[in-house]
């Protein structure tokens, strides 16, 4: 049954649906790289972004762009709250990374619970229809959702690259990621850079969740499930390596989808855990590509086992 059409279809659909995973992985990897926080509260940002868009478009009947603006605003506001009232306080107290992680976990659960109370558990989408018309390219079905989604993901990667490479704030983010204390000695306002990183992540999250919510149904706990994929991509791609995380998100999507052609479908979900296990045990620094000049400078991976905070 393995024909060219089937392989092409799987590759294309997996590539298109990995668009939001790329954005989630980038957001997670960026905060981990710069703020050195294992930010599971990203799930909370994803949840508020979705329900803000859902409220505007599905409940109030406002246009899609208003929904996206609301998603962006909600995600940014929550990012500010998490950074200013959460991370900053924990940093001031020199809290261990495990406490920071527990804090983010609690935030994600609280927001999921609140969303449940307000919106219930019935799955929802931003637009009433889930069905996107398709066009056949050769024998490959390309839906009207696919092209904009891929466009948004690719543009986001390019813009983020340019932002980190060419803007002052982006360069400061890379500097803080390398060595926060040294960066501060050079006059970089570290706290502002941490906030800027959270805001950048919030934009990526809002984009990703808007894409996801226009294609799939969302429940208050959906974002928590989606986070596993972002975390897996970040770990396998190499902690501190943004582009590795983004690329891994695409590869994982393709491998998971095509795996049913080779293994029993019951094992499909198991693959992600298998990859995670292999990555954590055998490749703790991620899959290393051949040495070359990197787009962003190499950084020291934060110690996830809890061997002490490197924060000032």
């Amino acid at each position: 049954m393995l024909s060219f059409d089937i392989v092409a279809q799987i590759l294309w659909t997996s590539f298109a649906t990995s668009s939001y995973f790329v954005l989630f992985a980038l957001a997670f990897a960026l905060v981990l790289k710069v703020n050195r926080a294992f930010n599971f509260a990203q799930a909370a940002m994803m949840t508020v972004a979705f329900y803000a868009a859902y409220t505007c478009v599905a409940l109030w009947g406002l246009p899609g762009w208003v929904g996206f603006a609301a998603a962006l605003a909600a995600s940014i506001i929550l990012a500010i709250v998490i950074e200013v009232f959460g991370f900053r306080t924990l940093r001031r107290r020199r809290a261990d990374q495990i406490f920071v992680f527990i804090f983010t976990l609690i935030v994600s659960e609280v927001v999921a619970f609140l969303a449940m109370l307000v919106f219930g558990t019935w799955p929802s989408t931003i637009f009433p229809s889930l069905f996107w018309p398709v066009t056949l390219v050769g024998n490959v079905a390309v839906s009207q959702w696919d092209i904009p989604a891929v466009g948004v993901a690719v543009s986001s990667v390019v813009v983020l690259f340019g932002f980190l490479r060419f803007t002052r704030t982006g360069q400061f983010m890379v500097a803080v990621a390398d060595n926060p204390d040294l960066a501060e000695l050079y006059g970089i306002a570290k706290q502002r850079i941490y906030l800027a990183t959270m805001l950048t992540a919030a934009v990526l999250v809002a984009l990703g969740m808007f894409l996801y919510g226009t294609r799939a149904q969302v429940q208050p706990t959906t974002a928590i499930d989606l986070m596993l994929f972002a975390i897996a991509a970040t770990i396998i791609g190499g902690i501190g390596n943004l582009w590795g995380a983004a690329l891994t998100a695409v590869v994982l999507g393709v491998v998971q989808n095509s795996s049913v052609l080779f293994i029993p479908s019951e094992w499909q979900g198991f693959l992600l855990y298998l990859f995670l296990f292999v990555a954590i045990v055998f490749l703790p620094n991620g899959v290393k590509l051949p040495a070359r000049r990197r787009l962003t400078r190499k950084t020291v991976a934060p110690d996830l086992v809890g061997a002490g905070s490197q924060e000032s």
Binding site: W122, Q217, L228, S265
Partner: protein, 384 residues
Amino acid sequence: MMTTRFPTRRALIAAAGFFAGLTITGAMAQETLKFGLAMPLSGGQALYGQDQVKAAEWAVAAINAAGGVNGKKLEMVLLDTRADPQAGIQAANRLVSVEKVPVFVSAWSAVVKAIAPVANDNKVVQLSVGANSADIARLGDYTYTTFPLADVDISAVANHAATKLGKKRAAVLYINNETGVVAAQIYRDVFSKAGGQVVAYEAYDPKASDWTGSLLKVRAANPDIIHIQGLVADTPQVIAQMRQLGLTVPVSSYSAVYNPKLIEQLGKAAEGVIATSLAPGVEDKAVADYVERWRKEVGREPNGLPYTQYLYDAPYIVAAVFKALDDKKLPLTGENFRREMVATKTFDLPLTGRLTINENHTVNKPVFLMEVKNGKWVQLAVVE
């Protein structure tokens, strides 16, 4: 100058007698027949629980407005389970020990299973209304269901596909959890036994958001019907993606997809989708009136309409058994309630029709096969 007169002893005795009389008369007038209702009123399932409770409250009010049970009021003691087994046990203990009810209604499989030992130990009847796990029939002498268990509707839809629709090659696509695995096996067995062939049998991960690989495998098997055993969160997306990949064969599923939202979400891609319902739809006048009452009083249709229909009917079962016991002057104990309910066996209920409770703790109910036609759910067949 004003003086204060103290009451005489005779006046005091007369007053005491008057108030005692009032109290006795009041107690007689207030005599009620109590039963319990343990449902999720808070937490993630409250959306459904609260609507089901409202349906039961309407039924109790209707029964009392029509004279109650032999002139006595029916009283429903309501407690919250949060759909959580531990909270369910606490609620059941209170209903049994404090409220001393002979029967209580509960729902959600995990809660019903957790409560069953409390019901058995105290010889108080638990009526499960809505939980559909096949295990519900094996929880002991004092747990009964009024809701058909999982195998009933899946068997009906598989049989109908093979015998009435003449389908020979079915593909089964199921979610890889307890809901999907067991029901998919039932479909495969029943469809094969009815003369059909299951040409593809594919699971998918509960966290999946893309089903391309599984669907392409199904497409390659060239089925003439596809049965999807998923959840309400993923099934519409699976159908949408199936249609996008050019799979135009009929699709069947079960009660989870029988809701108006599916048509809204899929548009023309929903045409021909077959679902099951375990209660009559709005073609039935009583159900139409009931839905209309929701729209007028609450401003919307109830969440999980069929489940609320079953909850509406539950107090009628309780009232019928209470009446039979009252007629026979038997005390309202759990043992008597159980004996009388099993002896009565058949109940004609306002919103779900005839119910027959079997000795093996299962029930006989018709299955309504619904199909999307011209953008609406219409009744395709009734499988007895």
